[in-house]
Structure formats: structure tokens, C-alpha cells
């Protein structure tokens, strides 16, 4: 094959934003190492600002890069990739802003924290563009291995170490299971590229008129692997512990960016590569979604720690997103994409409120939130908006997001799933409202208010704006989601 300089340039052009962020991550990490060696420490704010510059430049770059495929079609840069890359970068942006306080309290390795965060973001950006299972696997590993480190980042804290251990073990298992599915799929179809797998499955079906049992096995393993990554019941056992133990900004990042990226990968693998074998996996996805909604919401009621409650709530939220996956068509993909956008702002915002609260109070217990509206009306109001959005109350983004996924499921004949979804939403409303009631209806008068720092106020305002914009003016955002979903099914 002769070397084609034009093709070479075109290939690298599509992947340049990732390359830039990767180099930036190296610079931030190295700067942290050298500034420590030179004796004078750099302030956390400086690191954060430089990290933010990198993230913003990448975000603009991603928005300006033209669509295209690279490296023989294994890496694709389309509207879906752009949208999810921006969601991931938005998640990183809010995480960096909100982690200034918590990171500042760490004595050691403050700069590397931001560097690792960027490495993980690069992994997620590659993940949403991968149309080849090996690249997808490497991208998933790049994002999770850095997150293992970040989860255990508070070295002096026993809970953080425990979170790291649990995450690394479950992450390893899930990778192995996912990879076994990939290997079987490769054996069945002779390809690791999604297009090749799609054709291979078609050939298999044509040859015998049914699907071989090996394919079912491969699909179940893939689904289990994705289930672990998405923290879907019954593969969610690691999530609450890791969420509680990890530094809160990392918890937020884990629950938003890494899940959004995994949703994009799920869409590509299942809606494109495995679309023709949907009779084998749609039922399983429906059952997993129902389980996630039930287990997540019911277990969240009894939690006394706000981070654990939000962990179980995010298990349920992923269940709601997957309700859209039972409609293997453009509508299903659109609703899931829209949900991912709504979820980004609402969940991120909720965690930022938790960060703002624990910055001042040093506590994550729900009982300590009592009478918060007297001490910090800002946090109380913002937190209520985010929780209502998670619960799906209009006019917030969560309402339309839930409406769209339920609509997609009903149109595909999954009424029972929607009924489960609606019933569990009522349960969800109960525990979200409990927190809100605690914040606004105090029995006693606590003394002393506390202000919210400027970066956190900005992050909260961005999230709140996102939640309300998505809820009140959904038009442009639905268009974006639709354009993204159309990439999955060019024929429809």
C-alpha cells in the first residue's frame, strides 16, 4: 500500500483534538512534577485555570472539526461523536471548576489530579468515536485506569483506598468479561470492526436461518461488560462504595462523563454493529433497565449518605436511559442522547451542591442538610432544581428526557417497561422530595450562614442554566440529538 500524504493528513486532522488534549495532559502532569521539585508549590487555582484552558480549546476545536473517518474507518468523527465529546468535555469542565476546593485541601499531588482527569477525558473522547472493538477497549481502559487512581486519590482516607480497591477489582473483571465477548464476536464474524461484525452477523443468519448459540453468549458477555461500566443493576454493586469513597468531584465525573461516554459506545456497538441481531438482546436490555430502575430507586430511599443516595439514583437514571434502547431506531437513539444531555447538567449540578456543602460542613450526611435554606439559600435552591430535574418534574430537563425515552419505548410496544418506569419515578420523587423537605422546612434555627465560592457559583449557574434551557427550549437540543442519532442509521 503506497503512502498517501493527503489521506495521512486527513486521518490526523480528525483526531487532532484528542492529540492536543493528550499533550496538554502530559504538560499539566509534568508541570506538577517539576514545580514540586523546584521547591515552590504552584497553587491549585493555577493548575485548574491551565486545565480549563486546555479543555476549552479542545471543546472549540471539536466543534470546528469537519466530519470524517480516519485510520481505515476505525475512528469516526460524526455528529454523534461531536455531541458526546462535548458532553464529556462539559463534564470535565464542571469537574475541574468544582474540584478546586477539595483538591486544595489535599497536601500532595494536586497538579497530577488535573493531569489524570485530562487523560481520562482523552480516553472517553476516543471511546465515543471508536467503531472498532479493539480501539473501543483501549479507550475504555485509558479512561478507567486513570479513574482507579483518582478514586483512591485521598491516600490518607480509608474510604478512598477502599473505593480504589473495589473499583480496580470490579473494573478488571468487567474488562475481562467485555473482552471475552469481543473475542467470541470476533470468532463468529471474523472481524472486530462494527461494519464487519454487522455483515458477519447477517451472513450467519443467512446461512442457517437462526443465530448460533455462540453469538448469544457473546452478546450476553458484552451486555454484562457494558452493564458493569454503566453501573446497571445487577452489575452495580461497586458503584455506591466507589461513589462514596472517591473524592466528590471524581464521583461527579464518574457518574456523568464516564457514563455518557459508555452510552455513546453502547449506541454504536448495539445499534450499529449488533442491530441485525436485536431479537437476541432487546429483551435482555429491557429486563436490565427495569431492574436498574427498581433496585436503584428502592435502595436509594434508605440511604443516609447523600453521595450514596445519588449513587443509587444514578443507577436508576441509567435504567431510564436504557429504556430508550428497547427502540432500536432513530427515536430510541435520539431520546437516549437527549437524556444524556439532561443527565449531564442535573447530576453534575447535584454533585456540585454536595461539594459546596461539604467544603463548608465537611459532611455528606443527609441529616446535616436540615435547614440548609436558612444557612445557604443559594445551594438549597440550586440543589432543589437539580433534584427535581432528576425526578423528572417540569419545566426541568429531566421531565422531557423521561418523556422522550418513554415515548420511544411505547412506540415499540414496551408498555410494561414504561409502567415500571413511571412507578419507580414516583418512588424516586419520594426520596428526592425528602431531601428538599429537609432543606426547606427546618424545625430548629441553626446559627451562621455560609457563602458559596465564586468558581462553584459559576459551575452551579452553568448547570442550572443547562437544566432549564433543555427543559424550556428543547427544540435546538432535540435537533442536535436527532442529528447525532441519524449518524447511527444512515438508511432511516
Amino acid at each position: 500500500m503506497p503512502f498517501d500524504i493527503v489521506q495521512f493528513y486527513a486521518d490526523w486532522q480528525t483526531i487532532l483534538p484528542e492529540c492536543f488534549l493528550l499533550v496538554w495532559a502530559c504538560i499539566v502532569t509534568m508541570a506538577a512534577v517539576f514545580s514540586r521539585n523546584s521547591g515552590e508549590g504552584t497553587s491549585t487555582g493555577t493548575y485548574a485555570i491551565w486545565t480549563l484552558i486546555g479543555v476549552l480549546v479542545t471543546a472549540v476545536w471539536v466543534a470546528l472539526t469537519p466530519d470524517g473517518t480516519a485510520f481505515g474507518g476505525t475512528f469516526v468523527f460524526d455528529r454523534l461523536a461531536v455531541l458526546f465529546k462535548e458532553i464529556v468535555l462539559g463534564g470535565v469542565l464542571l469537574t475541574v471548576i468544582s474540584s478546586i476546593g477539595p483538591v486544595d485541601r489535599m497536601k500532595l499531588h494536586r497538579g497530577e489530579f488535573f493531569g489524570l482527569l485530562l487523560f481520562s477525558a482523552v480516553g472517553m473522547m476516543l471511546m465515543v468515536s471508536a467503531t472498532e472493538l479493539l480501539l473501543l477497549y483501549i479507550a475504555i481502559e485509558l479512561s478507567t485506569v486513570t479513574l482507579f487512581v483518582l478514586a483512591a486519590y485521598r491516600k490518607a482516607n480509608r474510604k478512598s483506598a477502599e473505593a480504589g480497591l473495589k473499583y480496580v477489582i470490579l473494573g478488571g473483571i468487567s474488562s475481562a468479561v467485555l473482552l471475552y465477548g469481543v473475542a467470541l464476536l470476533y470468532g463468529m464474524t471474523g472481524s472486530t470492526e462494527l461494519a464487519g461484525i454487522r455483515n458477519g452477523i447477517g451472513d450467519l443468519f443467512m446461512a442457517s436461518g437462526s443465530f448460533p448459540p455462540g453469538l448469544t453468549m457473546a452478546l450476553l458477555l458484552l451486555l454484562a461488560g457494558f452493564g458493569f461500566k454503566l453501573a446497571l443493576a445487577p452489575f452495580h454493586m461497586w458503584a455506591p462504595d466507589v461513589y462514596e469513597g472517591a473524592p466528590t468531584p471524581i464521583t461527579a465525573y464518574l457518574s456523568v462523563a464516564s457514563k455518557a461516554a459508555a452510552v455513546a459506545a453502547f449506541l454504536r456497538v448495539f445499534f450499529v454493529g449488533l442491530e441485525s441481531s436485536q431479537t437476541l438482546w432487546v429483551q435482555a436490555v429491557a429486563v436490565l433497565a427495569a431492574l436498574a430502575m427498581i433496585v436503584g430507586n428502592v435502595t436509594a430511599i434508605v440511604q443516609s449518605n447523600i453521595k450514596r443516595m445519588l449513587a443509587y439514583s444514578s443507577v436508576a437514571q441509567i435504567g431510564y436511559i436504557l429504556v430508550g434502547a428497547v427502540a432500536v431506531n432513530t427515536w430510541g437513539a435520539t431520546s437516549m442522547t437527549y437524556y444524556a444531555m439532561a443527565y449531564l447538567f442535573a447530576n453534575m449540578g447535584a454533585f456540585i451542591c454536595v461539594i459546596a456543602f461539604s467544603n463548608r460542613m465537611g459532611s455528606d450526611e443527609i441529616d446535616d442538610y436540615a435547614a440548609l435554606s436558612r444557612r445557604s439559600p443559594t445551594i438549597a435552591v440550586f440543589f432543589s432544581i437539580f433534584l427535581l430535574s432528576l425526578a423528572g418534574i417540569p419545566p426541568t430537563a429531566g421531565f422531557l428526557a423521561k418523556y422522550y425515552v418513554f415515548l420511544a419505548a411505547i412506540n415499540n410496544g414496551y408498555l410494561w417497561l414504561v409502567i415500571v418506569g413511571l412507578l419507580t419515578s414516583v418512588i424516586a420523587l419520594y426520596y428526592y422530595a425528602t431531601v428538599i423537605r429537609k432543606m426547606f422546612f427546618p424545625l430548629d434555627q441553626p446559627e451562621g450562614g455560609f457563602p458559596v465560592s465564586l468558581p462553584l457559583t459559576i459551575a452551579l449557574s452553568i448547570s442550572c442554566l443547562g437544566v432549564l434551557l433543555l427543559g424550556v427550549f428543547p427544540g435546538p437540543f432535540v435537533d442536535l440529538a436527532q442529528a447525532a442519532a441519524a449518524m447511527l442509521m444512515p438508511g432511516m
Binding site: 472493538l133 479493539l134 481502559e141 487512581v149 483506598a161 480497591l165 478488571g172 473483571i173 473482552l179
Partner: protein
């Protein structure tokens, strides 16, 4: 009897199951990590066997196996560092003792 693809697949399935069993029953954190390595290696056997028997003309399976080995090594590095951290906190690496958080 000639050794063919089914034998390799059976071997890898057995190794994978041993890995799952070890991961569930081992109480030593390093033992758990070794079980996970077993699971990865089972996958590698599958990949290389498929590459040899299904697609002899290209090397995709072997390439994936090489990448898997490299990634597993990177993951093991981080995992062992975290085990070391656990050791400092708990003066031992029995995973049963690592349970401050429950429910």
C-alpha cells in the same frame, strides 16, 4: 485425535471459569488480581485460536491479544499500587477486612 479450535475454546472457557471462581473465593487481594489475570489470559487464548483458525490470512486476533497483555500489565500496576495503599491502612490485604462501607 487432532487438536482443533474446539479444544482451544474449551481450554479458554475452563481457564476463564477458574479465574471467575478464584475471584469469588480468594480472600487475598493479590490472589483476586491473579484470578483477574487468568480471565484476561483465557481471553487471549480465545483470540489467538480464532486468529489462527478463523482468519488465518490476517492477524487481527493476535494484535488484540498483544494489546490485551499490555493493557492488563498497566492495570496490574495500578491495582498493586492500590493494594499497597490498602496494606498501609489495614496492615493486611485480606479483602474481607476492607468493608467500612456497606449498603
Amino acid at each position: 485425535m487432532t487438536v482443533g479450535l474446539p479444544h482451544f475454546l474449551a481450554l479458554s472457557a475452563i481457564v476463564f471459569c477458574i479465574g471467575v471462581y478464584g475471584m469469588l473465593t480468594r480472600r487475598n487481594a493479590v490472589g483476586v488480581l491473579m484470578s483477574i489475570e487468568l480471565m484476561f489470559n483465557a481471553v487471549n487464548i480465545t483470540l489467538v485460536a480464532f486468529a489462527h483458525y478463523i482468519t488465518p490470512q490476517d492477524v487481527t486476533g493476535q494484535v488484540v491479544a498483544v494489546f490485551t497483555i499490555a493493557v492488563a500489565a498497566a492495570e496490574a500496576t495500578v491495582a498493586l499500587a492500590i493494594v499497597l495503599l490498602i496494606y498501609q491502612h489495614h496492615k493486611g490485604i485480606d479483602v474481607d477486612n476492607v468493608n467500612i462501607m456497606k449498603w
